[in-house]
Point group: C2
Chain length 218, copies 2
DNA sequence: TTATAAAATTAGGTAAACCTAATTTTATAA
DNA sequence: TTATAAAATTAGGTTTACCTAATTTTATAA
């Protein structure tokens, strides 16, 4: 079994490996994503390599082994299922659930994820639009196209969010954006790639390119 | 905030303080109840004293301060609420829920216990018959009379169990005893205090005195 | 190519929460 | 009361998961 901390590393490596533009997972990228010092990451890379959960090559960076991938997916599965539970059953807001799920995802017990999944009636996506892995590890492909990649003039449906921090989600809440919202891309400012958008056909609003990159569309 | 480990000590001290016959909570009693070495307990007693969560006097043993008591009760509250959830919503068996709740009880988040309690429709007792503390810390008195204290000839209702280990609960399952079961005390063997009982008016069975002490009656 | 910056690593250290073994204190029984 | 057993404590050690500071390696730009 993996410790709490090992699980967090596996999850973080998995997340990085899912990001479309990332080809090499570096020590510093992991450090950044976990808020740890790179020296600590080096320690953990050694530990996870010894446990054969990752492979490390100075050139190619970190890669999950099949077992590491399996373990990581089970944590992601639990995280996303708990998020559904917190939102749907306990009535938490969108921006509150991530942090609680970060703790709940580490609870290990035979069957817990499966029972939770059944209790929640087999949800396909979590409240942020991320696909929930099945018990066998299979999962739908994540949405990857962002609003920043959209074509001016087109209207898109918000399918998921890339950033799940409460500051971003609270901002979305203020803009009345949630999963399913229709957004029309009116203009892309050449100077700084800011986006002028219309949310649910309302008056145009301007948002940053960083914002646009964190909205995934379908 | 208290660490995982501090919380376990507080809970254990609270549990010991609730036991009717215990007047002094000793280093070794805590060590025993947590399965730790007494030397470790000494370390933690110092730590919790510094944090003003307990008071320690060589003569009087360990006592929770008002704050310590408050913290302990909140953990017990969460433990018992999660047990109800696991049994009623996820369909776990009686003997499976304790260990999972041992992990879930440490999840801290503003409101979590309150929301869970509301979702479960304000249960008064957990599946082992223990009262669930309210948000304000108030709780019904635990059942304290055990079957071993019963009078020969009388019939009692199983109100709670003292031991929540899976081995005990599986034994109860085998004997078809659960909360609410009627037990008639037929005879108490003088030699070793074994009890001859009739469960739901069935044929007499003999159980040990240890068994009897772990069945709480009303 | 070489200087410089960035990334990775090493060396050594800390805090938490355990442990064992040895010692001291306290309680119990002859 | 004194011997012995039990309980409590101290001293010192381990592991996990972090850290900082220094150094080495690798990448990038002049």
């Amino acid at each position: 079994m993996n410790t709490f901390s090992e699980e967090n590393y596996l999850k973080s490596i998995f997340r990085l490996s899912q990001m479309p533009d990332v080809k090499k997972i570096s020590t510093s990228a992991i450090a950044e994503s976990l808020g740890n010092n790179p020296a600590s990451v080096v320690d953990m890379i050694r530990k996870l390599s010894d446990k054969q959960l990752i492979e490390y090559d100075k050139k190619k960076g970190v890669k999950l082994t099949p077992q590491g991938q399996k373990d990581a997916i089970q944590i992601v599965r639990k995280h996303r299922l708990w998020e559904v539970f917190l939102l749907e059953k306990l009535g938490y807001r969108w921006d509150e659930i991530h942090d609680i799920a970060e703790e709940l995802e580490h609870i290990k017990h035979h069957d817990l994820a499966d029972r939770l999944e059944s209790f929640l009636e087999y949800p396909e996506y979590d409240p942020h639009g991320d696909p929930i892995p099945k018990a066998n590890g299979k999962m739908a492909k994540s949405f990857s196209a962002s609003l920043a990649d959209g074509k001016v003039g087109n209207t898109y449906r918000v399918a998921a969010v890339r950033d799940t921090s409460s500051s971003f989600l609270q901002y979305l809440h203020k803009l009345e954006i949630s999963i399913g919202t229709q957004i029309r891309l009116i203009e892309q400012i050449t100077f700084d790639q800011s986006l002028v958008i219309s949310i649910n056909n309302a008056e145009p609003t301007t948002v940053s390119s960083k914002f646009g990159e964190n909205i995934l569309i379908s």
